[in-house]
Assembly symmetry: T
Homo-oligomer: 151 residues x 12
Amino acid sequence: MNPSVLILNGPNLNLLGAREPALYGTGTLAEIEAACRAHARGLGLEVDFRQSNHEGELVTWVQEARGRHAGLIVNAGALTHTSVALLDSLRAVELPVIEVHLSNIHRREPYRRHSYIAEAALGMICGLGARGYLLALDALAEIVRRPGPGP
Amino acid sequence: MNPSVLILNGPNLNLLGAREPALYGTGTLAEIEAACRAHARGLGLEVDFRQSNHEGELVTWVQEARGRHAGLIVNAGALTHTSVALLDSLRAVELPVIEVHLSNIHRREPYRRHSYIAEAALGMICGLGARGYLLALDALAEIVRRPGPGP
Amino acid sequence: MNPSVLILNGPNLNLLGAREPALYGTGTLAEIEAACRAHARGLGLEVDFRQSNHEGELVTWVQEARGRHAGLIVNAGALTHTSVALLDSLRAVELPVIEVHLSNIHRREPYRRHSYIAEAALGMICGLGARGYLLALDALAEIVRRPGPGP
Amino acid sequence: MNPSVLILNGPNLNLLGAREPALYGTGTLAEIEAACRAHARGLGLEVDFRQSNHEGELVTWVQEARGRHAGLIVNAGALTHTSVALLDSLRAVELPVIEVHLSNIHRREPYRRHSYIAEAALGMICGLGARGYLLALDALAEIVRRPGPGP
Amino acid sequence: MNPSVLILNGPNLNLLGAREPALYGTGTLAEIEAACRAHARGLGLEVDFRQSNHEGELVTWVQEARGRHAGLIVNAGALTHTSVALLDSLRAVELPVIEVHLSNIHRREPYRRHSYIAEAALGMICGLGARGYLLALDALAEIVRRPGPGP
Amino acid sequence: MNPSVLILNGPNLNLLGAREPALYGTGTLAEIEAACRAHARGLGLEVDFRQSNHEGELVTWVQEARGRHAGLIVNAGALTHTSVALLDSLRAVELPVIEVHLSNIHRREPYRRHSYIAEAALGMICGLGARGYLLALDALAEIVRRPGPGP
Amino acid sequence: MNPSVLILNGPNLNLLGAREPALYGTGTLAEIEAACRAHARGLGLEVDFRQSNHEGELVTWVQEARGRHAGLIVNAGALTHTSVALLDSLRAVELPVIEVHLSNIHRREPYRRHSYIAEAALGMICGLGARGYLLALDALAEIVRRPGPGP
Amino acid sequence: MNPSVLILNGPNLNLLGAREPALYGTGTLAEIEAACRAHARGLGLEVDFRQSNHEGELVTWVQEARGRHAGLIVNAGALTHTSVALLDSLRAVELPVIEVHLSNIHRREPYRRHSYIAEAALGMICGLGARGYLLALDALAEIVRRPGPGP
Amino acid sequence: MNPSVLILNGPNLNLLGAREPALYGTGTLAEIEAACRAHARGLGLEVDFRQSNHEGELVTWVQEARGRHAGLIVNAGALTHTSVALLDSLRAVELPVIEVHLSNIHRREPYRRHSYIAEAALGMICGLGARGYLLALDALAEIVRRPGPGP
Amino acid sequence: MNPSVLILNGPNLNLLGAREPALYGTGTLAEIEAACRAHARGLGLEVDFRQSNHEGELVTWVQEARGRHAGLIVNAGALTHTSVALLDSLRAVELPVIEVHLSNIHRREPYRRHSYIAEAALGMICGLGARGYLLALDALAEIVRRPGPGP
Amino acid sequence: MNPSVLILNGPNLNLLGAREPALYGTGTLAEIEAACRAHARGLGLEVDFRQSNHEGELVTWVQEARGRHAGLIVNAGALTHTSVALLDSLRAVELPVIEVHLSNIHRREPYRRHSYIAEAALGMICGLGARGYLLALDALAEIVRRPGPGP
Amino acid sequence: MNPSVLILNGPNLNLLGAREPALYGTGTLAEIEAACRAHARGLGLEVDFRQSNHEGELVTWVQEARGRHAGLIVNAGALTHTSVALLDSLRAVELPVIEVHLSNIHRREPYRRHSYIAEAALGMICGLGARGYLLALDALAEIVRRPGPGP
């Protein structure tokens, strides 16, 4: 069976397309999910694509990833900047993590320039819109196939 | 039908009357709700009055406000100072928002003097106790009737 | 005789209507005064409405309020952020004070987000334009009639 | 009937034993619960031992403690450093609270050295592993039996 | 009639010549005024040259400049670093403003390195002594004659 | 003729006795003036004792002290912490200055712990109530009689 | 022979019972010593209980602990917050150290919230009064008996 | 002719493979260049791949990119954190820029967590090793082909 | 018997006269002691005048003051800025304390502008040289005779 | 022979006219050079006008100015904010320096508000566009002719 | 007689060889003393080599150096970072001082990167182990022989 | 053949003797080079002595040191405080590095007290003038001959 990737989306990403389109683009989260599924198929990966507005639910999903998934792609939305709990779950799960942001967080409000997630992530892709998810899948596909340790 | 206002109350506001009465007064949240309903009726407004201890639930309620409500009154309690997710939902919903606090947050602990909610709010009323909700309804009634953009 | 409220306006508020209308609206200070007088009358309050560009004059007016007025509404303009002297006079006069700002000071330059006045005020109403004065009158009317201590 | 103690565990503590064992030890949360129950029995105390990844759920449990429990032991995990809501609930419940951490938070990342919980706690025990829970029970047993006010 | 320039001097500039001559030079304010008048005449400009120790008076003079003057040269002295009220008046008057300082404020005490005035000024000339006023007149003459918006 | 000392009092010191007596004592400013006059007489000094709520007026009085007074005692009240203009006038006047505060400013709000006046003062006496003025007179009497430079 | 524990008390702890009893309780240091001796006996431990107002003496005592004691309990009092020398001696001695404070240092002045001692300690017990010493003995008894490295 | 991409490498990137391989990997810069050329060919892009230890040379190369290249990929090495001049050149050239780093700069020394380059970049890819260059090429290929403005 | 005052001098004050005379004057500590004794005699006070380079010795002397002395005058020298232990002893002794410094500490290096001693002192006299001790005696004489609480 | 002035331009100033014209104007550096030459001729000055993107080259040019030039006008561009080396060269050369900026750096990003160059400059002219160079020539002409020391 | 050098060692340096040998090396303080004596003999210098854990004792030794020693070498250990008293004694003694540290303090914890001693020292040698003492002797030998002022 | 040491000098060190002699001494860089050569010869070392005003050139020289030199002595001048690129090259070259400064950088402007170079250096010698180079050679001679790893 193909290795599986868990793609997590944090609060308000369910609003994509409707929310501040100048900043986040006009595509919806469902369109991103579809693009991820298609792209993953080409890479020989399964995708489990989820969104939640609840920090606790995201933490639980990360915890459950061990043994089920080969890696994670995480766009934690606003929780990127505030959730030590999510960071702790990502550290605990010991799987390769790639952080994705639609906008370039380094050019936004000061409180959006720091990421707790980054402390548990192999790398970050930001500012490249929905394409960032696909690039993260490309990178994760290679990492998942390569033997050796996680982050 | 009358325009409707969503009044959101954050964590621990369900304890009102019991919790630190010297700071927050002896009225209960149910009494505030009743006062809001009566006052709104006089202003020709419907009121949807809610409380949650869950950031995620509050975020979801804000997201669902679009198309259902004409404006929001938000007393986010402790989340005022920590929740970027709630701020993001308020920005996304693009409705007029008035922030209310029972106590004067500018005279409390330093970490209570900063509000993320304020970045998405037209204005703030604080330190005037339960009456702050009614004043916010007054202001929102006027804004809702006036043509033109939100915040 | 009706209880009286002193409404103080700080530097540059005499320019209202002409000054940065996108930020402060197009109404003049005279129009706000007229609205306050009409509104106060309905509340059974007298109004003494003043403006000065001089910190010292504002301090003196506050000092003289004791025994003459039952409460104050203060929009100190730029002095909000710089005048410890005005704060000291407000503390000394021991009357209920409500702070008003036309714009939402929490969304402006960092140096406009801190208020010395707040340390002596029961509460703050900001971002609701000229209506903030009227809401402050509503709140003060109630406080003035209620027995018990000031701020 | 014996007085009861509510022992609350925050996000990711359900992973104990699996998560970063060099830092948190190899014992599981179930083992800590069992040790607490046994130890409490010897002290004549009941124990209600819970864990949640949801801030809102922890807040609600704290709110409900009034009238049911004689004191709380709180290991809030990552929420220690970010949750003003949890602090507010602990303040409101007005019961004796002892804060516990498995690791010595004073020797970790800067953002783990500050505790909001501490503002509502009688004291803190940290860095002594699972034994910290038992020491907290010892201390709470004494406090619960002693007449007089909470924190 | 020639366009007119308002030249404002803040607190203690009336002491020039007597005050810390190593820092501010030995020329008096009257000599600077005379030099400005002569220089302005050559540029086809009128000059209204004033000094006050009162922030409120300076604010009022700035407010009155609209419709009377074509531009301002402002050496606010110590108020440069403390007066948000003066800044607000300069913003409101919407005329071209050039900030002048006799000494190089960037080489003095830290609290003299920040200028509120700068936020409303086209530019700054500092450290060139009394000549800075004349250079500012040169620049303003050109700006005043050039069609288009102010700062 | 006896040498003269200018004693300056800043904003709100005219309220002494009425204003926050727990902090500032119950004596009035007139009583302090009387005590100073009596004490100065014993030291062979004239006293010119003034109070103003206006920064600009205080600055002007300091400027005029040169040639009229042998030294200054300054209790600038709230301006201690905000007025660079007053500091500049004290530096310019080149007379011995002793700073006095009724309360111990080092134990009050953070913004009251810094004094601009101190940069131009020989020394400071604080926290000793009205007696501080008399001690300052003692010290100044000695300095005035001693040949040599000012601060 | 029983393993021995060195219990060190820093400056002013000799005043216990007399000093700020609302903060530190009414028990004396002699009473704490007696309680420690009794408790240690039950744990099969010897106790060497000392107090000094001299940083240098405390440093020397820590240095001499090696080879004589199996562990240390340190309540360094005010030196907790200022003494790098004491930290260095604790690091050098390479024995298990538990830090104790009578009050909850996390709720006191900002400069009392940081502990240099914590960098060399296994853990901290604070806010539980004299009982904190006994809990530390419990924890140390277990650690001393357990094979393996110190802090 | 194919659109061309300028790939710039800053100081010390010529040492790749030899320098701190645990951090930067064992591949050389020549190998990255070869991989980029091959990958770009598949995307229908030309590649101009350069490295310099001189800030001035990098600035000049960026300036010359206008009219010659359709986009830039910039790994500025240490200059990422110190060079405002490089930022200014990237802003001036008004071409799409993607920032690449081999390591995850968000997990390194504090001074490596801030990027001046980010202010002029569409997005950043970091922590994914040499593959980051290829992902950046993928993203740039799409952007270059899409009509519309640059960053 | 006359009430007694303990006058404490911290490190390096034994060097007075020899040490940086431009800053501290040319008088020796013995001369200050003699002047204090003479002045105290006139005030009906005994004086116990001591100096130590040891923080621990100063702490012990303060502790022993209770019951022996009616007040303290403290020039803690460099320990003013670093010794929390000395502050704690002064708080514990609950006697009136006046802080004295020869130089104006508000005009020196930043680390000399903060005083821990001030937190336990009624007031401070600084910058007035050896005379500061005599003025402190004057103030203390009055306080000692006046009934009521200490600091 | 006429005295000569070295006019130095830092990185990216060669792009003037093309680069962000809303901020820097549409004139080219060649046009500024021509205007400077014409203006200098009228003042009886020679001009050596240079630009470099290399910090090292600018440093060398400054070093060589001694003995060749009578003064410097420096627009260091981005190096203004980052180059201590350029500051050191300007200090070493001991010639009068006037700093020029086209835009008002006090109104831009925080990192552009600090100038290392200012520490070695007599004064600064900013925000007046290309005219700033000519005003600096005016000022320098006067300084060069006046006997006495440099900065 | 040969000029004499006082070599002072602060707290915990008596533990050398035993304390954290990876950081401080395996040589003992006695071996350093012997090496210093031998090396000084070759330079024609006497050596007085001391160690204390007491700040007060070190301060006293520095005070006594005047007239007895020609210079000082100071390794103040932890007091480097906390002792203003030691700094004051070094300033007062007005002899050439060279600061030595075994480890490179610039690469250690932030609080070890600042040295109060440096303010009174000609220079610093750090990170070169016990050899640093010998190099300091070399430098001091030259300075002692050279006529002219101390630091 | 003798082992070789690369001695690098950063910007403006070519001005030695002429530049601020009170701070840097009157010797020229050529004289320092000659002294180094003579001293190195006595130690059995070759010396390659260079200076550049260009960061990029210094970086390149460091990169080329591997395999050619046995160690480096680096006086990076102003780049000490600003160049992460130079730090990176020193880290990459993995040779023993000793940092030298003519003046005591710990007593200068705040921005000169931090050294990026120190992160890659064994140790630092500063404040001892040109002799610092010779002491560094002494230390390096010993390190180069001793077997074992670099920094």
